[in-house]
Structure formats: structure tokens, C-alpha cells
């Protein structure tokens, strides 16, 4: 790494350490700084896990309170962001578990069907839309978001952290207390489920525009 790059890494690490120290002193400005630096990622995670803006905001508030109460337990061996993700995800999962749960068995048979010989049992559909159809792409994103809200909670958490937050599998495993292998399996199954959700949308659009 060039010298300037190393300097930047050290400076960022120093700034992160200063923020943690200020948080541990219960400096109110530090908590506002926390929102400024990490609010977007916490909001994305809360929104995608809860599927609803008011509940996402409730999760954020509870997360901030937990950070205030537990910051003295943060041992700084992991990144602050990893610790914050863990609190936000656990807060959201506890709320989700108090509501009706989406059964995990929903994903047991997701994905293409195969013959005994391991070949595709059905023809896979094509579903590419012309790129200029931006409105249809936005509709596809809405369909995707609705699909995410139907994922079982633990699959949803893995998917949000991996696909939307683009965290490494090892970090997700640490946050959710899973093995890396389980993270990969759940991500793959979540993608297969969402692919089937989207297939329904794309194939219907293709037929209606024919």
C-alpha cells in the first residue's frame, strides 16, 4: 500500500477511535456524530428487515439507546460498524420474532427442480426487460422489496447484510453467530426465493408487452 494510503487508513482508524472514546464518555455530540456517520447503514438495515418505515425508525431509536447503555462493553477488537450492525439486527430480529414468523420451511424447496439425473426438470424462463424501461425497473425493485419482506427472518438478515450492505461473509457470520458455510447457504436460498418472486413479475410483464 502506498504511504499516502497507509496514512489515510491510520487517520480513519484514529478518527474511529476518537468517536468510540467520546461515546464512552457519553458525549452527546458523539451520538449525533454516530447518526451522521452510521445512520444511513443502520436505517437501510432496519428498513429492509422490518419492511416498514415507522418500525425501522423504532428499531433505530432502540438501537441508539442500546448503544448508549452498552458502549462500555465494546472492546474495539471488531470495527464499530460491525458492533452497530449486530445491535441493529438483533433489535430488529427480536421485534420480528414477536410478530407472526415466516416459516423457514418456505425455503426448503426453493430453486429450480431437477430430474433424478440432475438435469433441469422444467425450462427456465428468460426475463430480461429492455434497459430503457426505467419505470418497469423501478416496479421490479418494488417487487423485490416485497419479496424481501416475505423472507424468513434469519434469511432476510443474511440477505440484507450480504447483498445490500455488501459485508464479507465472515463479518456476517460474526454478527449473526453463524458459520460462514451457513451464511452462504442462506444467502443462496434467499436469492433463489427472490429470483422466483421476480420471475413472476418479469414473465407477466413480458407477456403483457408482447
Amino acid at each position: 500500500m502506498p504511504v499516502a494510503g497507509k496514512w489515510l487508513v491510520h487517520r480513519r482508524a484514529g478518527m474511529a477511535a476518537e468517536l468510540v472514546a467520546a461515546l464512552k464518555r457519553k458525549d452527546p455530540i458523539a451520538f449525533e456524530q454516530l447518526i451522521a456517520q452510521h445512520g444511513a447503514m443502520l436505517y437501510r438495515v432496519a428498513l429492509r428487515l422490518m419492511g416498514q418505515e415507522q418500525e425501522a425508525e423504532d428499531v433505530l431509536q432502540e438501537t441508539l439507546l442500546t448503544v448508549y447503555e452498552k458502549i462500555h462493553t465494546f472492546d474495539e477488537r471488531s470495527a464499530l460498524s460491525t458492533w452497530l450492525y449486530r445491535i441493529a439486527v438483533n433489535t430488529a430480529l427480536m421485534r420480528l420474532r414477536a410478530k407472526a414468523r415466516v416459516p423457514e420451511e418456505l425455503l426448503d424447496t426453493v430453486g429450480p427442480q431437477f430430474t433424478e439425473q440432475g438435469e433441469h426438470a422444467r425450462e427456465e424462463a428468460e426475463w430480461t426487460l429492455p434497459p430503457e424501461q426505467a419505470l418497469l425497473r423501478q416496479e421490479a425493485l418494488t417487487a423485490l422489496q416485497q419479496g424481501i419482506a416475505r423472507l424468513p427472518e434469519l434469511y432476510r438478515a443474511v440477505y440484507v447484510l450480504a447483498e445490500i450492505e455488501s459485508l464479507p461473509h465472515q463479518d456476517i457470520a460474526s454478527i449473526l453467530e453463524l458459520t460462514v458455510g451457513t451464511v452462504k447457504t442462506r444467502l443462496h436460498r434467499a436469492r433463489l426465493f427472490l429470483r422466483e418472486t421476480l420471475a413472476g413479475y418479469f414473465v407477466e410483464r413480458r407477456h403483457s408487452s408482447a
Binding site: 452527546p28 445512520g39 427472490l194 421476480l198
Partner: protein, 79 residues
């Protein structure tokens, strides 16, 4: 020789670039000859790409204002 079921099982590792060279070549050779697996790969990739478009969610300004007001009301201020 890979079967279609094997391709589906390996697709995540393939897209992450973590397959051993021999496995990657075998997968690509299978896909080159299998229209079903090619469509599966394309639709799996499109699913991944769409999910990644959800990365740009900012905190709405009114949510941020309420969070800061919440902090001020709930956390003791230093004297």
C-alpha cells in the same frame, strides 16, 4: 462432468470468483452447452444486481431530525 444440479449448487461460488480453476472451466463448459443453465445464470445474476441497487438508501431528513430530537430528549446532557 457437471450436471445442471451441480451448476445451481456452485453458482454462488462462481459469481464470487472462489471456484477452483478446474471447477470454473467445467461450469462454463456446461453452461455453454445448456440453454437452461445459461438462463438460470442470467436470472440469478439479475436478481443479485437488483438487490445491489437497494444499497443507496439514505436516511430521510425527517427521520434524522426525529432521531436527533429523540437523542436530546432521552440522553442526559453533560453539564
Amino acid at each position: 462432468m457437471l450436471r445442471c444440479r451441480d451448476v445451481a449448487d456452485l453458482i454462488l461460488a462462481y459469481l464470487e470468483g472462489t471456484l477452483a480453476p478446474g471447477e470454473r472451466q467445467a461450469l462454463e463448459a456446461h453452461i455453454a452447452d445448456c440453454p437452461n443453465c445459461l438462463r438460470f445464470l442470467k436470472t440469478y445474476r439479475e436478481t443479485v444486481a437488483l438487490g445491489q441497487q437497494l444499497r443507496e438508501e439514505a436516511v430521510p431528513s425527517d427521520v434524522r431530525d426525529r432521531l436527533e430530537a429523540f437523542l436530546r430528549s432521552r440522553l442526559p446532557r453533560s453539564s
